[in-house]
């Protein structure tokens, strides 16, 4: 899923990753700034990689290979800083008031992207040249560059309105674009999974267990139906709250 929304209320003050009522200390702020700058840079590398490969090849066919490594890196970074991050702020500072919904949503988003990248695209070589891969990678890249720069600027208390606007507006197109790319990619992988029995376990075996990855992928696709609208409309509500307030302030002036 391409755009999840950490943070709910008090969004007018901007966000800094998971929302905290009391501001983070100096050390925590430094860590967060470095983290968000690194993540912004990582996704920028992917964006540059995509553009350069397109210019070199003259077509957008098979651009996955040019950004495969940086993509895996940023997801690894998100995975491995997210969970210690979560532990640090929820366990060590239980009064920091992390909003549970934002944490769940972000964690879910990280996991779903890792799944799409590793368990589908990386695992099924035949889909790597599909255009649908480019579709979701592009959507993720633009979204994440905006999102991580948003966090970086917020932490430095110098958030340009443009970034805030972009963050809460671009998703309107990028989110469905990313979801389409993801679904098409999974769908493209299905025949190969069925043919090769990838990640599947059949009976009989000594653990008396079976798993059909093909059916699992179909269930994953079906799960988009209840999940996507919820996440999408959550972002739309966020947009009204965040961008709505600023309109009010300008009216007062």
């Amino acid at each position: 899923m391409s755009a999840a929304a950490p943070g709910t209320s008090k969004a007018a003050h901007g966000e800094a990753g998971p929302k905290k009522k009391k501001g983070p200390g100096a050390l925590a702020t430094a860590y967060l700034v470095i983290y968000n700058v690194v993540m912004t840079a990582g996704w920028l590398v992917i964006a540059v990689g995509l553009v350069r490969a397109y210019l070199a090849r003259g077509s957008y066919h098979g651009l996955y290979y040019s950004i495969e490594k940086p993509l895996k890196f940023v997801l690894w970074a998100a995975e491995n800083s997210f969970f210690p991050y979560l532990t640090v702020f929820s366990v060590l500072s239980p009064n920091s008031g992390i909003v549970p919904s934002s944490v769940v949503l972000t964690g879910f988003q990280v996991m779903s992207r890792v799944f799409l990248t590793w368990a589908v695209t990386h695992s099924v070589r035949e889909v790597q040249s599909e255009d649908s891969v480019l579709l979701f990678v592009t959507a993720w890249t633009i979204t994440e560059i905006i999102r991580y720069s948003f966090y970086t600027f917020s932490l430095l208390n110098h958030l340009p309105y443009l970034i805030k606007w972009a963050r809460y507006t671009f998703f309107i197109v990028l989110y469905p674009m990313g979801v389409t790319g993801e679904l098409l990619t999974i769908y493209a992988a299905l025949p190969y999974v069925q043919k090769t029995g990838l990640y599947s376990v059949t009976l009989p075996n000594k653990y008396n267990f079976s798993f059909d990855y093909y059916t699992f992928l179909i269930l994953v696709m079906v799960s988009y139906i209840p999940l996507f609208p919820q996440l999408y409309f959550h972002m739309i509500r966020q947009r009204k709250k965040v961008l709505g307030h600023t309109e009010d302030y300008s009216k007062i002036e």
């Binding site: 009989p204 653990y207 008396n208 267990f209």
Partner: protein
Amino acid sequence: MKHYEVEILDAKTKDKLCFLDKVEPNATIGEIKSMFHKSHPQWYPARQSIRLDPKGKSLKDEDVLQQLPVGTTATFYFRDLGAQISWVTVFLTEYTGPLVIYLLFYFRVPFIYTPKYDFTTSKHWVVHLACMCHSFHYVKRLLETLFVHRFSHGTMPLRNIFKNCTYYWGFAAWMAYYINHPLYTPPIYGEQQIRLALIVFLFCQIGNFSIHIALRNLRPPGRFVTLWLFFLPQLGSWLGFTLMTQCLPVAFFTLVGFIQMTVWAKGKHRSYLKEFRDYPPLRSPILPFVL
């Protein structure tokens, strides 16, 4: 005898919902709830949460009016807990499901396995043993619910029944599918493994049962110890069953159950500690209560 006046306000909107005059000083919250129910029939007592503070803890049904920190005109706040269902109903439903569902798979009812296996029985004796153990476990739980358990809260929110039944029934179906499958593979270490598993299982079943009987009549002093006394035999029974069937879904069920019990125990422990902390201030004669 001086009578009290009781007004009940909505905890969120602060609207006056009910006014009771000439309330006996020794009236309990439970009785007040019944009186409130008369004027608002849609809120039966089980779904009423009456508290002294809009954001405070619910008062207990046994609390007596004149022992609460209220003046002769008492103000209470009401919150609707939503549709409630009795614990007994939930337990009976969530335990009957697995019992029946497992048997459906055991007897290989049509539409589960390939048609040629319909209504056949497994050639492995461990499968019959497993069915007996699984059924015994749930029959025991049903009987305990009916005759042994004393529940501290009568009800729980209605949505819990759907959540709990999905969990129990879902896992029962998942396990039963593999154990009773025509392609089921019996335990590698054969009879030795099955015998050991059965001993563990029975030992824990008996242990669990005796603990239930013993604690029925006692109010245990060591709460955390009690919680673990319940969990260990449960865990042990399912470990035994896992060993007996050598089935990965059973192992998953055991693991998930263990995690749940740990989380639940920690939550209970924390709430007991909190209760202990909150308790003294209410009884403190130093704090003035002005209403």
